[in-house]
């Protein structure tokens, strides 16, 4: 019986061995296993374990590790589905939207000091466009632009990195750098995207940006797309800025293991939403104390502030080289298009590959670059000084009239600023019984309409993408002073606006 069993096992084993030997390469495997044993079962177990692990790994099914961070139960899913109400594809217009559509003035023909509007067909005196020095209607610049158009055509047809760079672009970069007194400068095709691109070219995830909460929309978007840690300080409040910087310093001290991060202070020269000016001297002091870099948006102050229009740095007598990045727009004062960033050679060259708006946009048309170059040239001459003087005088005239009506009109703009924001004082709003933002906007629009129909003056409310703003400024009328207006025109307009404010207020009482 035993013999039978043993012989049966033997014959089975022999068959298995023969079967295994038929498989190609099996001799090597058998040899390997025989060799591996080496009188050490522990090692065999280890190796076998590894081999089994490899096979198990090979046979596992793939899966996403981070598929759904929030696990909902069936019941929760049902509840959410039941709760969901589909939104109408097109929402009915709200009162404010309807007003916006009806009351927005459309200009027919060329932009200028007295453009023709579609609604009445009349020419209105323009206090709405950012045409501070009247370059839009400057004949010399226009002539140059036409000459350039004949030479280069309209578009540059390519991003600067490929074949979009012309000699006039390089000239403009040099002009800006020379004018500001920085080492180098780079030009972007669009004013709005310049600051956003500059911020995100330097500041990445984990870096820290300290921003003035009165900054314009472009800065807000720039800080958001940079994915950095954003800290806000109160508008132009240096004590608050110092508090924020100090808190960051203490936090860094508490976490010594953290790697060093890049740090930036971002602020605006002349604030688009308030018409006031950043205290650059104090900011530079804090920058040196806490070791930050400063990104200064001079979109509105470039070409306006300072004795010869070199911007905030000239006004505070600080060398432009000390500010790490000066960003500006050529679409405002220079009446061309695009933006620029001036700074050290390293700062500028870094953007040629890392500034997304520079790399991925076609460069600005040659004629606009020439316009900007010409505009800067004029700024440096006697004519430029005269224009700046005229602008300051006009702004002062307007401002003085407004100051005479402080019980109706609140103004956040400083003396010398060509951007004037006119708001209802809070006390007056309470007296009028105006509670919501929309009501306030409606009231301001009444003033805009009144001035347009009665006095032939084109002004506008300051408009915001309200759903996207973080620190929404109060509704206001934004006046842009132009150097080309006569003093009498400015005086008349200011009086008219003052009267309109008074009329609207009294009609509500």
């Amino acid at each position: 019986m035993d013999n039978l069993l043993i012989s049966a096992i033997n014959s089975t084993l022999a068959t298995v061995v023969r079967g295994v030997q038929v498989v190609p390469g099996s001799a090597i495997a058998i040899d390997y296993i025989k060799n591996s044993y080496q009188n050490d079962p522990f090692r065999v177990v280890l190796e076998l374990g590894l081999a089994i692990y490899a096979v198990k790994y090979m046979l596992s099914k793939k899966y996403r590790i981070d598929q759904n961070p929030v696990q909902l139960t069936e019941k929760e899913i049902d509840e959410l589905v039941a709760e969901w109400q589909p939104e109408a594809l097109v929402q009915p217009l709200s009162d404010i939207q309807r007003m916006e559509l009806e009351k927005t003035q459309v200009i027919v023909g060329a932009q200028g000091l007295k453009p023709k509007v579609l609604s009445t067909g009349k020419n209105l005196l323009n206090f709405a466009s950012l045409n501070y020095l009247g370059y839009i209607t400057n004949e010399d610049i226009k002539k140059k632009a036409i000459e350039t158009l004949h030479k280069y055509g309209v578009g540059s047809c390519g991003p600067p990195g490929f074949y979009g760079t012309l000699d006039v672009h390089i000239d403009l970069e040099k002009d800006i750098a020379r004018y500001l007194g920085t080492e180098s400068a780079i030009i972007y095709a669009q004013g709005f995207s310049t600051i956003a691109s500059v911020i995100s070219a330097f500041s990445k995830r984990g870096d820290i940006i300290v921003v003035d909460d009165g900054s314009n929309f472009a800065i807000l978007k720039g800080t958001q797309i940079s994915r950095s840690n954003i800290k806000w300080f109160k508008h132009n409040d240096m004590a608050d800025l110092e508090r924020v910087l100090e808190s960051i310093r203490l936090e860094t001290l508490a976490h010594k293991k953290r790697p060093l991060t890049r740090r930036f202070i971002v602020t605006e020269g002349l604030f688009q939403n308030y018409g006031d000016i950043a205290p650059l001297d104090k900011i530079m002091e804090l920058k040196h104390k806490y070791k930050y870099r400063v990104i200064l948006d001079e979109s509105n102050s470039f070409g306006l502030l300072g004795k010869t229009g070199r911007g905030l740095t000239e006004m505070y007598n600080i060398p432009a080289k000390d500010v790490d990045m000066i960003v500006g727009s050529m679409a405002n004062t220079l009446s061309a298009a695009g933006g620029f960033c001036a700074g050290s050679k390293e700062v500028v060259e870094h953007q040629r590959l890392s500034g997304q708006a520079f790399v991925f946009s076609a460069s600005i048309p040659a004629m606009l670059a020439v316009c900007a170059s010409e505009a800067i040239k004029i700024l440096g001459t006697k004519q430029g000084e005269k224009l700046l003087k005229g602008l300051q005088d006009n702004a002062a005239v307007f401002r003085n009239v407004m100051l005479g009506a402080s019980q109706w009109i609140e103004m956040s703009s400083v003396a010398g600023s060509p951007i004037l924001h006119l708001r209802f004082p809070n006390s007056a709003l309470v007296g009028l019984g105006v509670r919501t933002r929309d009501e306030e906007r409606m009231l301001l629009q009444e003033i805009v309409d009144e001035v347009a129909s009665k006095n032939g003056v084109l002004i506008t409310r300051a408009k915001y993408v309200e759903s996207q703003e973080l620190h929404l400024p109060r509704p206001s009328i934004r006046i842009s002073i132009c150097a080309m207006h006569t003093k009498a025109e400015v005086e008349k307009t200011a009086q008219a606006i003052k009267a309109a404010f008074g009329k609207v207020m009294s009609s509500r009482k």
């Binding site: 081999a51 490899a54 596992s60 793939k62 899966y63 995830r205 984990g206 940079s226």
Partner: protein
């Protein structure tokens, strides 16, 4: 619901940035050429160590395994982030192994890259004739490499290695 929303928000911004373009830092490991190169590199290593005058077979095999394991550990598990990118640091603090195939586990490339060190270990122990010291060194190097590749270790940081910097947003 606010808590849920915030979980979604942070994840979706990072995920959106990560998937806004092909991650060229990790996509190459899926190329067939990259698989072949892996083998060629190992053969080259063995060859180079083998021709050192007077070297024993044990030592050359041990050096090969050790070099491969240390090299691949540095490459896949020690270096983080992406050197050239336009996503504002969406992969900061994420190792190459975690970037492969967008973090999906048990893909063909992962299986391949996990099996290679195991096979290399089995081969080398065999050719080192089971010298205890060589066996021990090879085993430790391989096991550390394999542990780092475990799905359970995905974005897990031990002993402060590659510790992520926590955001300080308010």
């Amino acid at each position: 619901m606010t808590k849920l929303a915030s979980v979604y928000k942070t994840d979706y911004v990072q995920a959106l940035d990560q998937h806004s373009q092909t991650n060229l830092n990790s996509s190459w490991v899926n190329d067939k050429g990259a698989w072949m190169t892996n083998i060629i590199l190992i053969c080259f290593l063995k060859f180079m160590f083998g021709i050192i005058p007077g070297i024993t077979s044990e030592l050359s095999w041990t050096l090969t395994t050790l070099t491969y394991n240390i090299g691949s550990y540095i490459m896949f598990h020690a270096v983080t982030g992406v050197p050239f990118e336009f996503t504002q640091g969406a992969y900061d603090g994420i190792t190459l192994w975690e970037q492969i195939d967008g973090g999906v586990q048990f893909t063909a490339t992962r299986k391949y890259l996990t099996t290679v060190p195991i096979v290399l270990f089995l081969l080398s122990t065999h050719y080192t004739h089971y010298a205890p010291f060589a066996f021990f060194v090879n085993l430790v190097a391989t096991v550390i490499n394999l542990i780092a590749k475990l799905p359970a270790m995905h974005q897990v940081r031990l002993f402060d290695i590659n510790q992520k910097v926590e955001g300080t947003t308010d």
